[in-house]
């Protein structure tokens, strides 16, 4: 699948801004400049741009499994500080995490949740330095035909990881994402047993979005038991935080610049009077939940 420019994936972009926005709060308890950002930069490095510009993170590692054109990836780095590591994440992570420091690790896969992904999640949960954030994005689109859904899930993650009651029917629509979420949680519990430093995991993120396929993003912070309550206090007041199985569904309304400016001017009360301009209620409500992360309308100098 050719990589699509991120600008054409509005929900993903809004999600990215929500996450970076939340990560700012790390600074309440830790020094963000000690952190390292680890991601899959691709050619675009959009999340690296944000991490560096918005969070001030200076140390950055991009894992790139495509080793055919290394020069081109090197060339496209927006900042010289980005350290390219070529190889699969499961080859790179074990050694990368030997260097103990807090990190924000975003494993932004285009594949569905499978054993390779779970292996990487396990490595992170076992080995991330307390205070680190881990995020996983996986494709959550139920495969077709419908009567092979469960069979496909078994092939992805093996039968023993699948919770009771999962059927071809229950895997329809967002059902696939719900099961992937449950499998991720179980994996975290299992891997945490192997940590003997008393580290816990606190979920912060649970997003669903659909730009061109159903996607699931899930993540949280690995924290010393003693800091658990502090982190919760710091993050829980944010609108985009989801600590449980109810996700934040990012639905991006398609609006014109004029409609956006009009809606912004009505805030915080967006009256039903809007109807007279033909903006559907659904789009209006969707806009209300995420307007703060909606790309700003360019001004005269923008």
């Amino acid at each position: 699948m050719p990589r699509v420019q991120y600008a054409f994936r509005p929900a993903k972009h809004i999600q990215r801004r929500m996450i970076v926005d939340a990560c700012r709060r790390i600074a309440f308890l830790a020094n963000l400049s000690d952190y390292e950002y680890v991601g899959f930069g691709g050619f675009e490095f959009v999340d690296f741009e944000l991490s560096h510009r918005e969070l001030g993170i200076g140390s950055m590692v991009s894992i790139e499994h495509n080793i055919v054109n290394k020069e081109r990836y090197q060339f496209n780095r927006p900042f010289g500080q980005i350290d390219m590591r070529f190889g699969r994440a499961s080859d790179v992570l074990p050694t990368l995490l030997d260097d103990a420091r807090p990190r924000i690790v975003w494993l932004d896969y285009t594949s569905r949740l499978n054993l390779d992904v779970l292996q990487d999640v396990g490595t992170c949960i076992r080995r991330l330095t307390p205070g680190s954030i881990i995020l996983i994005t996986v494709n959550a689109h139920p495969p077709t035909p419908a009567n092979t859904r469960r069979e496909n899930l078994v092939a992805d993650v093996t039968n023993e990881r699948i919770p009771a009651g999962v059927t071809d029917e229950s895997l329809a629509r967002w059902g696939w994402a719900a099961v992937q979420y449950a499998i991720l949680l179980a994996e975290v519990d299992w891997q945490l047993r192997l940590r003997t430093d008393g580290t816990v995991f606190e979920q912060l993120f649970h997003f669903r979005y659909n730009d061109d396929a159903y996607m699931l993003t899930w993540g949280g912070i690995v924290s010393p038991e003693g800091d658990r309550a502090k982190w919760r206090y710091i993050f829980d007041s944010l609108d985009q935080i989801r600590a449980g199985e109810d996700p934040l569904l990012i639905e991006v309304p398609v609006l014109t610049a004029k409609e956006v400016m009009y809606l912004n001017a009505q805030l915080p009360e967006v009256a039903s009077a809007l109807k007279e301009y033909g903006i559907p209620d659904r789009d209006r409500d969707a806009y209300l939940t995420l307007y703060r992360w909606y790309p700003p309308i360019p001004g005269p100098f923008g």
């Binding site: 080793i67 055919v68 054109n69 290394k70 190889g87 499961s90 080859d91 074990p94 050694t95 030997d98 292996q119 396990g122 490595t123 076992r126 080995r127 047993r193 192997l194 940590r195 003997t196």
Partner: protein
Amino acid sequence: MPEDELRVRATPAKRFFVSMLVKDIELMPAIVDLVDNSIDGAKRLRPGAADDRFAGLRVELTVEPGRFSVADNCGGIDIATARQYAFRFGRPEDWTGPPGEVGQFGVGMKRALFKLGTRFSVDSASANSRFSLPISVPDWMADEDPDWSFQFSQVDESADVPENERGTRIEVQQLHPGVVEFFADRRFLTRLRAEIELRHMRALQQGLIVLLNGDELHPAHLVLLSSDDFAPLVKQGDISVNGRSIRMDLYAGLDRVRDQDDDETGDPEKYKESDAGWYLFCNDRLLLARDKTRLTGWAEVMAAYHPQYRQFRGYVFLTGEARDMPWTTTKTAVDEDSGVWRAVQAEMYDALQKVSVVINRLKTERQQRPPEERPAVTAMHSAARVPLADLRTSSIVKVPPPPPRPVVASNVRWIRYSVDNSDYTKVATELGVSNSGDVGRGTFQFYLQTQVAD
């Protein structure tokens, strides 16, 4: 309600120990358990960690259809230990052995003896005591006194025993019929020999002489491939869990194996019995051998074991107090609830992942590069088999960096076919190459260069 009516009997029955407990252990581990006792004696006698600490100490095993005995000169059991611990069922709370011992539960020797036969004797001489304890299981079962006991036939509590006479001799006279069958089986004896050579490798390396029916046993020697640019992961340090601490020495890397450059190993059965896998020693007693299961990370943090990984060797040595060790009473399995085990497991997972990256590199190089452009393969070939003790600490598996020219993976076609073995050998000899991949590439190149127009 009177007290008596509320009371439920929970008194153990002798039959439980004689008939049931023995079902939890196989015959071979039971014998290895008895050797454990001798080695624990040797450790008490020579507490140092020197390479020849057990020089002069010996354990003689006689395993014959009519007779079983194990005799050692490892210091003997003193009379107090015999009275308070050695023959009691279960170890009293306040009885603490020296660190580094294997015996912990107070069950091994009795269970092993019940497993073997119905009439046995234990004779032991320590520095200042001697005793003889003959036991007839049917007579002991018939004794209905709720206060269980055995009777010494001879006791001397004020002996002055010369050093060369101190030791223990255990003899079983009336073997169970099933046991006799095993002891008459040559293959059983061969397996027992291999089992003790493996399980008690450390003690044998440190100079303990073990004789099985008069033949001396030889320890396996543990090595990993190592050189300046190709080296295993070596991690040493303490593991602390819930305020308890044990020492861990972990070594993970590759060993040389037959046909190591042959990647045409599609049949997983072919190398199933290979020595590849994890070895876990607790106080020098081997608990897991050649483990390729999920317990040690296979199919858990990486792919399931596959012949491709047959060069993998991982060795973990845990040293500390017996009660902190993650073993079960039979010492053939891991106590998965143990906090120490989980901490060790995490270390093994990490090491396994790092070594598998290198093994995958070797395979990729062999499949995608000509022989002169395989730095990792070349380094692996020229590395020496180095004893574990001579390896240097390293948190990574050392391997030369990949060659610079990128591989255009998308522009590659795979060819796979089989040929007659003798034809293959002739062509390989003619080409001067040693693996099937190179034979295939060589013959293809020949055709391409001589038969195909540009």
